[in-house]
Amino acid sequence: MIHMKIRDAACRGCRFCVDICPTDALSFDEATQKAVVETVEDCIGCLSCGFICPSGAIRHEGHHVVKNFYRNLYFSRRMEKFL
């Protein structure tokens, strides 16, 4: 089961995630000018919204992680050391 969370404080209301989602799992709340998760059941875990989000406000949990066939190994080795 996929869980998706949008942190309201970080959402800038750009609607990129709403526009890019292939399954319309997200919608836009006009009153608060923030994106909201509408039907998380529809989420296919493509992570498009997470990558397009300018503030990194969208977090997914429980999705199937596809192994990337190219990674910047030089950096990936250092990544866990970042404070």
């Binding site: 942190r7 404080a9 970080a10 800038r12 209301g13 750009c14 609607r15 990129f16 526009d19 000018q33 990558f51 397009i52 300018p54 503030s55 990194g56 406000a57 190219y70 990674r71 910047n72 030089y74 950096f75 990936s76 250092r78 990544m79 050391k81 970042f82 404070l83």
Partner: protein, 313 residues
Amino acid sequence: MSDEKIRLNTDWLCDCGGCHVALVDLHEKILQVLDSVEIQHCPVLTDVKDYPPARIGILTGSVRTEHDRHAALVMREKCEIIIAFGTCAVYGGLHGAGLAHSREEIMEHVYRRSPTTKTDTIPDAEVSELAKMVTPIDEVIDVDLYLPGCPPHPHFIFESLASLIEGREPRVTQDSVCGRCKRQMIKGDAREIRNTLDEVPDERFCFLSQGHICLGSATLDRCLAPCPNHGIACTGCAGPTMQILTEPYLDIRTEVSDRMARLTAIDEDIIKTYMEKTAKTQYAYAMATKMIGNKPTFLIKKWIADVEGQINE
């Protein structure tokens, strides 16, 4: 926690000294730090010339001279944990842009042809020689922790020092600067790229929506976003976000131009070309590191040659 204080060494290499000032900017909180930390070698606070053994070593700045290399090696030897502190230490920083020019060009411009001074001698005594390139410190010594930021906001400095001392995970996010910015990202109708000389952007709305280049969405938040919240577009001083560093097809200019094109009526390729022409500005803080410099999409030498070719024609 034991009664014995944790010993801390800090040293600056090639940098502006701002990171050390940021340490002092902890204000009253520095008293809390001093409860459990004993500061030994620290150029802005103490007069200790040698490097006593320590548990934590903070290094700011990148390696540009023989002195820098020596200090980095000695610090590694004497300290158990080395923190690369600030953007210069992590990514090479602003002077990393020196990569675009040779050492001779830089010396010549600074000491011979400087438009604001009248000296005509290149110094050869007292100062150690300029190395060929700017090197982030992790290419010289092993680094245990990285804390980018120019300088890192005291909020993050305190959090990281406190977590180290208490032996817990730091509570930090990997949000971008946009995550802390108060401006609303609306779809605007800007048709061309503008800058602050053309107009004062509306403070309620995102810079990108108004056709101004802002690197906030491609920059890690280690600053609490003071610039965009006070009318100045983000220049990317804390270095790129994690997704830019790890994903080979993402780059600062592709990330920003993609988002800006979605928010304005400007074509994505126009923004991308503009950012390539101004690459020394857009990539100023991070170009010296291999994490950016080795990206297949990063062609700074070609972009600069293109621009200079046009100027000379």
